[in-house]
Structure formats: structure tokens, C-alpha cells
């Protein structure tokens, strides 16, 4: 069974507040870049599936040539191979542009199963993998918390929605996005890091997959930082904790938030 893991390179979550509007406009993000934390769960799951089934795993990313670092992290964790779709010559795309490129790459890999994180910490869309499934005509299950079984060409999973846990079975090939509950991603081993650092990762320009610039159906405009929360904290003083509690309750009742 061939498992493709879709990963994205994103800013480190601790550095997201540093990202400026100009960074986003230009696409040149001045922050430490890492593998999207949600995608680490997908990488880990692909490796764990290898313990249960006969699995060949490949991580694929679309991005600038720098995104090979995210792929090397996946390799260091233990996926079997990696491939980059180089989007540096591409402009004016959107979610579906990325999805079209990834779908073409997934097809070329002959994948039976696509795993990915449920969203990225930068675009926060959780939509590109739906586009991959739609373009390939494959079934999709999002927010999966457990892969129960893969047999007879069917995959059975559990997933969480608000207020309920669903157990769903779909035929392969399929696209699955995973949530944080599914596993605990491993730290790459020293040997893994050494192996990954030596790996030569093949890179394909998006144009070679038939992806054209300017095909986006949406544009981002008026990119800006949200207004800073300007509050002056009123520290509630009092001789006893009871007095402090009473004063705080007074203040909150006056705010009309209770």
C-alpha cells in the first residue's frame, strides 16, 4: 500500500506573532520555519501504519525550495521518501491551485491513501486536502482520531465532530486528515537526522504538473495585523481573598458580561 503524506512548511507557532503584513504580502516570511505541527501527526501515523501493514510512504510538499526542510524532518522521523513541488515560479494561485498540483503528484505516485494534518498553522484553511480529494474523485474523511482498520480495499476510521464520535468506512483510495488525538509524533532519531540530511529530494516545478499562474478564484487583499488588544489590567486589591472576589464580581456585573 502506497501512503502519501502531504506536509507544509509553516512558521514555528511561537513565532507567528512576529509575522508582519508585509511578510504575508510578499510571501517572504521572516520567521523560523518548521514542518506544520498538524502534519507531524500525519507523518507519525504513516510510520505507525508501516508497523501494521505493508506500507510504502512518501512525503510531498508544495512550496519554495526551502520547504525541503519540512520534508527532511518527515524523512528523519521515518517516512520512506520525499518529493517537492516547487511553486516559486507560480503566482496568483489559491487553495485549489495548490490542490490541483498536489492531486497531480498524488496520482503520479499511485497512492492508495493520502494522510495530512487537519489544517496548517499559517493559512488555517483545512481545505487543500478536500480539493485534492475532489479533483481525484476520492472519498475524504477529516479530523480523524484513529485508523481502526484497513482491509479488503476499505479503510475504517474514527473521527470527532462537535458532540459526537463517528466511525466511518470508505473505499480506498481515500484522503484522510488527522487530528491531534491520533498519536504522539516522535522526535527524529540521530540516525534519522543523519540519513535525512544526506537525502537528495527530487523537485518538480508546478508548471510541469500543468499548473498555471493566475488561476486562483480568490485573492487576499487589505492584509493587516489585527488591532492590538489595548487593555490596562485592573489588579483587584483587598485584605482577604473574599474581599478581592467580591470586588471582582462587582466589576464583572458592571461590565454586563455575566
Amino acid at each position: 500500500m502506497k501512503v502519501v503524506v502531504l506536509v507544509k512548511q509553516t512558521p514555528d507557532t511561537a513565532e507567528l506573532p512576529k509575522v508582519s503584513a508585509e511578510d504575508v504580502r510578499s510571501g517572504k516570511i521572516k520567521a523560523t520555519m518548521v514542518i506544520n505541527p498538524w502534519d507531524e501527526f500525519a507523518v507519525e501515523e504513516a510510520i505507525l501504519l508501516g508497523d501494521r501493514y505493508d506500507v510504502e510512504s512518501v512525503a510531498i510538499s508544495m512550496g519554495s525550495p526551502d520547504a525541503v526542510d519540512a520534508l527532511k524532518h518527515a524523512l528523519a522521523m521515518g517516512v520512506g521518501g520525499a518529493a517537492l513541488i516547487d511553486s516559486s515560479a507560480l503566482s496568483g494561485g489559491d487553495l485549489w491551485t495548490t490542490a490541483a498540483a498536489l492531486a497531480a503528484a498524488v496520482k503520479a505516485q499511485g497512492a492508495d491513501l493520502v494522510l495530512t494534518g487537519k489544517q496548517s498553522v499559517d493559512d488555517n484553511s483545512g481545505a487543500v486536502y478536500a480539493g485534492v480529494a475532489a479533483q481525484l474523485g476520492w472519498p475524504m474523511v477529516s479530523a480523524v482520531t484513529k485508523i481502526v482498520d484497513i482491509s479488503n480495499g476499505q479503510i475504517t476510521v474514527e473521527r470527532m465532530v462537535e458532540g459526537a464520535q463517528e466511525t466511518i468506512s470508505v473505499p480506498l483510495p481515500a484522503v484522510i486528515s488527522v487530528g491531534k488525538e491520533i498519536n504522539e509524533p516522535r522526535y527524529p532519531s540521530f540516525m534519522g537526522i543523519r540519513k535525512a540530511s544526506k537525502a537528495v529530494i527530487p523537485s518538480t516545478p508546478a508548471a510541469e504538473l500543468g499548473i498555471a499562474s493566475g488561476s486562483g478564484k480568490t485573492q487576499w487583499t487589505n492584509i493587516r495585523k489585527p488591532e492590538e488588544r489595548k487593555t490596562k489590567c485592573v489588579i483587584i486589591e483587598g485584605a482577604t481573598v473574599e474581599e478581592k472576589a467580591a470586588k471582582l464580581v462587582d466589576a464583572l456585573l458592571a461590565e454586563k458580561v455575566i
Partner: protein
């Protein structure tokens, strides 16, 4: 032309966030000079009556045995039928797990522009503009569309819950034209995880606990839950508390947890790491309770008590009980 809203249902009936979206949809439809259509999907049309008081021009009941349980491919196909039937140019869903995946799948299949998890909507020069909060709430962007159909999922609590009025709008029915063979997914089980507690994304008040409970985590979160119960609030937690195993992940607020926007957020024993602040910075009023007067949470808070949550929380609970007559 029309603005189509998917009215999501679960085991408890209509998901209230759908009504928030419907309320805004009426405004958008008025600005576009068109009508609002609320799509209700299921094996029967019984939910249609509960939608009429929220004022759509049309309630479109799409019914059939294949739609008995929510399944992504079946619901996407039925909504595509609805888009065609009512000539929808704008399609809106609540950005719940199901609302997000069905909106993404529908938009991709229609090759339509999609704005996920939008926090605001407006019409400018006769065109829809959606506002997105990206980079984990550190950047805002206006999303404009150049496709004939525009699809948006809307973050819960972005718009006020509309007041129900006299039932209006006509109920129309539509056959989805789907048979069981058209649907790839089988739902083997739906287990309710609803324990009667208020969900974080719907809550108008949240009481959260963090690493400050460490000396006795079980007691600490019991105190958090007691205050939450008196206030009718949801229980939240920092990532540190979740990672330490004090409380399940579904309570986590922040960058890799939930983004919340309550009227009141009480953070007990939470230092205020930027990943946490990104998830709750939109709260109207923030209260911080922390032993450390230098904790970053105080910089974002409106009110603070410097003290031990093990003493402050019971005092607050007692005081609220007294004032609220509970």
C-alpha cells in the same frame, strides 16, 4: 440568484451556529438584492419548521433516505443540487467540522472561490468580501472572489444569534436524486460525546485552567468546573495542562486547540503563552488569576487577581453563588 445557507443538524437538532450564519445571510442577501434560502437536509423535513422563525425567504427541504445520517459525499451532492435549483451565488455554512469539510468539498467541486472560517462578511460594490483571521489569529485578510459562486464557512460566534420571529418563508422540497450506490461512505456508528457540558466555541463565558493547578490537578480542575457550573460557562485549558494530562484535549484553547470568543474569559493559573493568547485574545473581557504578578496574561487581561487559584476560585464561586441567587 440567492444566498444559500446550509442548516446543520446533529443529534440535538439544528446546530445553533447555523442560525448565526442565517441571520447574517439575510443582511448579505438584502445588500445583494436577492433572497435567502435555508437548506435543510435529512430523511424528513421536520427541521424546516424550526428554521422558519429565523426569517429565510425559502426553506429548501432536501429529503431522502440517503440523507438520514450526515455523510460528506451525499450532503455535498445534495447541496450541489440546491445550488443549481435556487441559482445560489453565495453559499454559507457554519465553520464546524462538518460545515468546513462540506463547504470545502462543494467549492472545490464547483471550482468556486472558498473562504474558510471567516470572521466577517460584507458586500462591497455588489460583491461579497469575507474577512479571514489567518496565521493563527495574527494576520487579517479580506478575501475577494472572481468566481460566479462564492463559498464561505463562518467561524462560530462571529455574528449574534438572531431573535426568532413569526414563522415566515415558504417551505419547498427538493429530491436529491441520490441512491445508496452513489454514496461511498458508510457510517458504522455515531456515539454521542455530549455530556451536557457547554462547548467552548459556543460559550459566552469560559473558565480555563493551566499549569497553576499542578500541585493537585484533579482538585484544581474541579474548582475550575465548579465556577464554570455556577456561571453556565464552558471549561477550557491551556496546552500545558492538556499536555500534562490534567484534562482532555477537547478543552484546549489556543493555536493547536480551539479559537474562542466569549464575552468573559477567566484564566486561572495560565501564564499566557502567545500560543494561548492567539486562541482567546478576541474575548470581550479577560480575567487573570495567577500567583505570579509578572505573568504575561496580565498584559492582556482587563482584571487581575494576584493569588493562588486554590483560594481565589472557591471564593469567586461562593461570591457568584450569593449574587446570582444560586
Amino acid at each position: 440568484m440567492s444566498v444559500l445557507v446550509w442548516i446543520e443538524q446533529n443529534q440535538n437538532g439544528v446546530v445553533p451556529n447555523s442560525f448565526e450564519v442565517l441571520g447574517k445571510a439575510r443582511e448579505i442577501a438584502a445588500a445583494l438584492g436577492t433572497q435567502t434560502v435555508a437548506a435543510v437536509l435529512g430523511d424528513n423535513a421536520s427541521a424546516a419548521e424550526s428554521v422558519r422563525p429565523y426569517g429565510p425567504d425559502v426553506v429548501l427541504a432536501i429529503t431522502g433516505p440517503v440523507l438520514a445520517n450526515y455523510r460528506l459525499s451525499a450532503y455535498t451532492a445534495a447541496l450541489r443540487k440546491a445550488v443549481e435549483a435556487v441559482g445560489a451565488t453565495v453559499v454559507l455554512t457554519a465553520a464546524t467540522v462538518r460545515g468546513r469539510e462540506v463547504a470545502a468539498m462543494l467549492a472545490s467541486q464547483l471550482d468556486a472561490g472558498y473562504a474558510p472560517d471567516a470572521i466577517d462578511l460584507r458586500v462591497e460594490n455588489g460583491r461579497l468580501v469575507a474577512v479571514r483571521s489567518v496565521y493563527s489569529n495574527n494576520i487579517l485578510a479580506d478575501v475577494t472572489f472572481n468566481s460566479p459562486v462564492q463559498v464561505v464557512s463562518v467561524r462560530p460566534r462571529s455574528f449574534p444569534m438572531p431573535e426568532p420571529g413569526a414563522p415566515g418563508g415558504e417551505v419547498r422540497t427538493l429530491d436529491p436524486g441520490l441512491s445508496e450506490n452513489d454514496v461511498k461512505e458508510k457510517v458504522l456508528e455515531v456515539k454521542s460525546t455530549d455530556t451536557g457540558e457547554i462547548s467552548l466555541t459556543d460559550a459566552s463565558i469560559i473558565v480555563s485552567g493551566g499549569r497553576g493547578v499542578a500541585q493537585d490537578p484533579a482538585k484544581g480542575f474541579a474548582l475550575v468546573a465548579e465556577l464554570a457550573s455556577v456561571l453556565g460557562a464552558a471549561v477550557g485549558a491551556s496546552r500545558a495542562a492538556v499536555d500534562a494530562g490534567y484534562i482532555p484535549y477537547k478543552h484546549q484553547v489556543g493555536q493547536t486547540g480551539k479559537t474562542v470568543k466569549p464575552d468573559l474569559y477567566i484564566a486561572a493559573g495560565i501564564s499566557g503563552a502567545i500560543q494561548h493568547l492567539a486562541g482567546m485574545g478576541g474575548s470581550k473581557v479577560i480575567v487573570a488569576i495567577n500567583k505570579d504578578p509578572e505573568a504575561p496574561i496580565f498584559e492582556k487581561a482587563n482584571y487581575g487577581i494576584v493569588g493562588d487559584l486554590f483560594q481565589v476560585l472557591p471564593a469567586l464561586t461562593a461570591e457568584f453563588k450569593k449574587r446570582l441567587g444560586k
